[in-house]
């Protein structure tokens, strides 16, 4: 069984897996999108919270610093020093007390708003000036805090008034936003923090960062919402440093995207694992399911193939199942049994002879082929074939039903006598029987032939009638006589017919009796070629009305102008053509050739052209129609023709011949019985035929000069014909005395070498002229060429 291009199981599995994958993929995408959204929301929320925490941290720090500063400002010693000291002391006090509460910078602004002292923990070129400016600004606001840039540091500046007890000035303290704050922020919020201030080069500079060293990188003014730091994707949130803070300084809060997505990743991996497991389970399941479906399907296919090959012996599998497959298998099996039954019946019809119950020709041939095919190289066998003598006669005389019973009786005898166990007897058809003798040689077959002949010799009694049955036996042996079954059968048949001809009981095939066989085939093809290549010639033999010697008719004859063998006489190919059926084509050719000549012949006074019809022609129901077509084509009438039929031709199939003859007669053709007197036609039958003419066979005519009996036959035939209203034609008139004799007997027309031998159609005109000239002085004498 060829594997189907697309196996059902593959398709089922592919479909199942595809659908599962589709569903899983959709789920995966949906869950992934939802997880992603949730992760984003989480990130945003974390950063929101971080932002609030940062603002609160900043505010609280501011508050703490303000409180610290306020306390410092309330310190009596400090106040006393500030209020009463000289500039140097003031500076020193400021520095000292600022350091106490951890301020990085400090300034003292008096009531007039002028900065009286400024102190920094580090020295920068412009930072003191900047501090003074900032302190003056802050003093204007009297109280509060803000983040400001001082050099490259972000300072939380706090201003408080100093009262002694009235406000005598303002104390400004600055606290750098430092790593500790950032760490606090990180501890509180879990977020990383980077404090960016504008660097000298204008680019943001990270002065505080909780990021590990690997993730430090350069910053730009716009780093977007996400960026990769040290290979980690971070979500960013830029947060201002509070009201009043310089815009270019800000804090960036960072949350690791990977960390936020970690749980999502884990979930996705789990999903993937479940999907993979699902695909595996589904795959195994669908393969199993598909197998459950397709395995029985394959078994059923194999069963169907076995049925197609004619193997009905094996029951169909899977009938035990209770599903559709099981039903199908049962149906298949019913079909198998039913087909097997039908097949056996058909086989019987095809291979058994219904009449005798014996194997028929086809069966015999198969058996023979089988034997030859399966035989060992050294093996041999023989075929014995025989036909009953005179069986046709029995049929005619005693009826077909009797004939059938006779055949049945013969078959019975064959079975009862002289046939060995593994010999095969068959009725080949008609009265022909054959016996296959495996392992036998010609001698063995001849021995059997003798036994069968002996069995048949005992008279058969049927319907109280005793019938003598005899047969002619032909024997052919394999492998001596033929290589295959068909050739062997035909050899046996040749031998049988040869035995019939030679009237011997049996004959073993010999190439000598079949010499024609090879020639026959080549002759047939040559004849076909002759017709196609226009090698046939139409010859005409004039018919003379005896009464007045007028040239009134011709008989059409055919000659074969063979390219290599020269002119071939009709006897060499007409009988063969009749045997093979080729004669039908020949007849039509003749008829058409004559029809062409009719106008010319009629001009010469010819009234009728005689054309011979063969036995085969008379069995051809289409003949009348074909002749009509030729008449129409050539534009001549049927009355210009006389169709000659031999007695034997009519007698082979009297009923069918009669039908055709009546049709032809009705169509206007004249009909003539050829070679009258040679057959066995009864006058009673003759009377029923629509014939117009009798043609006396030349054997009688030639002999009538010497033999009185023949003369009597001729005379009485002429009388008989005339009495039946038929005209009489004599052939074989070879001399003037026969001419005269027949004329005197009242014969109507004659033909023969005395008048003219057959001539090519073209020479008719010349003959007519010669005949007319010869007839004038002496009508009976014409020189033939």
């Amino acid at each position: 069984m060829p594997a189907p291009r697309q196996r059902l199981s593959t398709r089922i599995v592919a479909l199942f897996l595809g659908l599962l994958l589709l569903v899983q993929l959709a789920g995966f995408v949906a869950i992934g999108a939802s997880l992603d959204a949730s992760a984003r929301a989480t990130l945003a929320h974390d950063l929101d919270v971080g932002q609030r925490i940062w603002q609160r941290v900043l505010a609280q720090k501011s508050l703490a610093l303000t409180q610290g500063t306020t306390l410092l400002a309330a310190d009596f010693g400090f106040r006393s020093a500030v209020a009463t000291s000289d500039a140097d002391t003031l500076h020193s006090v400021l520095e000292n007390h600022a350091a106490r509460i951890g301020a990085n910078v400090s300034a003292w602004v008096d009531r007039d708003g002028s900065v009286r002292a400024a102190s920094l923990d580090t020295q920068g070129p412009d930072t003191e000036a900047e501090l003074r400016r900032l302190a003056a600004d802050m003093a204007q606001r009297a109280q509060g805090s803000q983040v400001a840039l001082l050099g490259e540091r972000a300072m939380q500046l706090v201003v408080v008034p100093l009262k002694a007890p009235l406000t005598i000035g303002w104390l400004v303290l600055g606290f750098a936003l430092d790593q500790a704050l950032a760490q606090d922020m990180k501890t509180l919020s879990g977020l990383d923090l980077v404090l960016l201030v504008p660097g000298i080069d204008g680019l943001p500079r990270a002065i505080v960062s909780t990021l590990p060293a690997a993730m430090r990188s350069n910053w730009t003014h716009d780093d977007g919402e996400r960026r990769s730091l040290g290979g980690k994707l971070m979500q960013l949130r830029s947060v201002s440093l509070g009201a009043g803070a310089p815009a270019q300084a800000h804090v960036v809060l960072l949350r690791s995207v990977d960390a936020a997505l970690a749980s999502q990743r884990e979930l996705q991996w789990t999903l993937l694992l479940i999907t993979a497991a699902g695909v595996l389970v589904f795959g195994v399941g669908s393969v199993f399911t598909a197998r459950r479906v397709t395995t029985p399907l394959r078994a059923l296919t194999a069963a169907a193939d076995r049925l197609a090959r004619g193997d009905y012996g094996q029951p169909v599998l899977h009938q035990g199942r209770h599903d559709e497959i099981g039903h199908l298998a049962s149906a298949f099996d019913h079909m198998r049994v039913s087909i097997a039954g039908h097949q056996a019946e058909v086989h019987n019809l095809a291979f058994l002879d219904r009449l005798t119950g014996l194997p028929n020709r086809a069966s015999f041939r198969n058996a023979l082929k089988g034997r030859i095919g399966s035989s060992e190289p050294a093996g041999q066998l023989a075929v014995l074939m025989f036909g009953l003598d005179r069986f046709k006669h029995v049929n005619e005389v005693l009826g077909y039903a009797f004939g059938d019973r006779l055949l049945q009786a013969v078959a019975g005898r064959l079975a009862a006598y002289g046939v060995r166990g593994d010999d095969l007897i068959a009725r080949l058809g008609g009265d022909e029987f054959a016996v296959l003798l495996p392992g036998a040689d010609a001698a063995g077959a001849q021995a059997l032939a003798l036994r069968v002949a002996a069995a048949l010799e005992q008279p058969l009694v049927l319907d109280e009638q005793t019938v003598d049955v005899s047969a002619a036996f032909g024997i052919a042996c394999w492998p001596q006589h033929a290589a295959d079954a068909d050739a062997l059968l035909s050899r046996a048949e040749v031998a049988m017919y040869a035995a019939k001809r030679k009237t011997v009981p049996s004959l073993v095939y010999d190439p000598g009796i079949d010499s024609a066989s090879a020639e026959t085939l080549s002759l047939l093809s040559e004849l076909r070629r002759a017709l196609e290549h226009d090698e046939l010639r139409l010859y005409l033999q004039p018919k003379i009305r005896l009464q007045d010697a007028a040239f009134i008719g011709v008989e059409a004859l055919v000659r074969w102008q063979h390219p290599s063998r020269g002119m071939v006489p009709p006897l060499h190919f007409i009988p063969f053509a009749e045997q093979t059926g080729f004669v039908r084509a020949l007849t039509l050719w003749m008829f058409e050739a004559c029809a062409r000549e009719i106008p010319a012949l009629q001009a010469l006074g010819v009234q009728r052209v005689s054309v011979n019809l063969s036995t085969r022609d008379l069995l051809d129901l289409e003949l009348p129609q074909r002749l009509q077509q030729i008449l129409q084509r050539q534009g001549v009438t049927a009355t210009a023709f006389c169709l000659e039929i031999t007695e034997s031709a009519i007698m082979d199939e009297p009923q069918r011949a009669l039908e055709i003859l009546e049709t032809l007669s009705a169509n206007g053709f004249k009909l003539s019985i050829d070679d009258f007197g040679t057959g066995y036609s009864s006058l009673a039958y003759l009377k029923r035929l629509p014939v117009d003419e009798l043609k006396i066979d030349k054997s009688f005519v030639l002999a009538m000069e010497q033999d009185e009996d023949d003369a009597k036959i001729v005379r009485s035939t002429i009388d008989l014909a005339h009495n039946l209203g038929l005209s009489v034609v004599a052939e074989g008139i070879e001399n003037a005395s026969l001419f005269d004799l027949l004329r005197d007997l009242g014969c109507d027309e004659g033909q023969g070498f005395h008048m003219c031998r057959p001539l090519p159609a073209a020479e008719m005109a010349a003959f007519a002229e010669r005949w007319r000239m010869a007839r004038q002085p002496q009508p009976a004498l014409v020189e033939s060429d």
Partner: protein, 200 residues
């Protein structure tokens, strides 16, 4: 300052003393920035004669009660010794960082033994280190002619000899450290009248 007086100055003082014999009253109307009568304003007349005539006033006290200075503003002539009696049960720690007089009376009850003598003219702000809300002012003047406005914003300075003076006016609501307003005033035999508008 009087120790540095020269002879011509002494002469002038004599003139003033002579004039004092025929002294008159000066009435000053004090108004706030809206022209409304201004209470508690300090007003005083300065001149060389007046400076010569100043003498410390005895027995001036700046009392604390109910964690307050009983008087917000106390005007004292130059050289006066001021006592600070504490009427509260809690201790006070009165101090001044003003350049006029820097002092500190550390955590005391009752009246400290040593009074505080104000030897420079000007305005001193007093506070309490314990109680930040306690504020009082001491205006040290170098003249005997001074007074504080009543609720109607009027001050009457008695027995002012005629002459040319600087009329000074001050109020605690003026910005801290702001000096007293200063304007000329000539006092005649019948005395004088003036109106001062303070930016408070």
């Amino acid at each position: 300052m009087s120790r540095h007086c020269s002879r011509p100055l002494l002469f002038v003082a004599c003139l003033l003393l002579a004039a004092a014999a025929q002294a008159a009253n000066v009435e000053v109307q004090l108004l706030d920035r809206n022209g409304q009568p201004l209470a508690d304003a300090v007003t005083f007349l300065e001149s060389a004669a007046a400076r010569a005539a100043v003498k410390p006033a005895p027995g001036i006290e700046i009392e604390q009660a109910d964690k307050r200075f009983t008087h917000r503003v106390t005007v004292v002539p130059l050289g006066s010794a001021v006592r600070f009696p504490n009427r509260d049960k809690v201790r006070h720690h009165v101090y001044s960082f003003s350049p006029v007089k820097t002092f500190e009376l550390k955590l005391y009850t009752g009246t400290p033994a040593n009074p505080v003598t104000f030897e420079r003219s000007g305005i001193a702000v007093l506070g309490c280190n314990i109680h930040d809300n306690m504020v009082a002012w001491v205006v040290v003047v170098e003249t005997p002619y001074f007074g504080q406005s009543t609720r109607s914003g009027q001050v009457r300075l008695d027995d002012v000899p005629p002459g040319s003076y600087r009329l000074r006016a001050w109020h605690p609501d003026l910005p801290p450290g702001a000096p007293a307003l200063d304007q000329a005033l000539v006092v005649g035999a019948q005395g004088g009248k003036a109106s001062v508008r303070l930016p408070v």
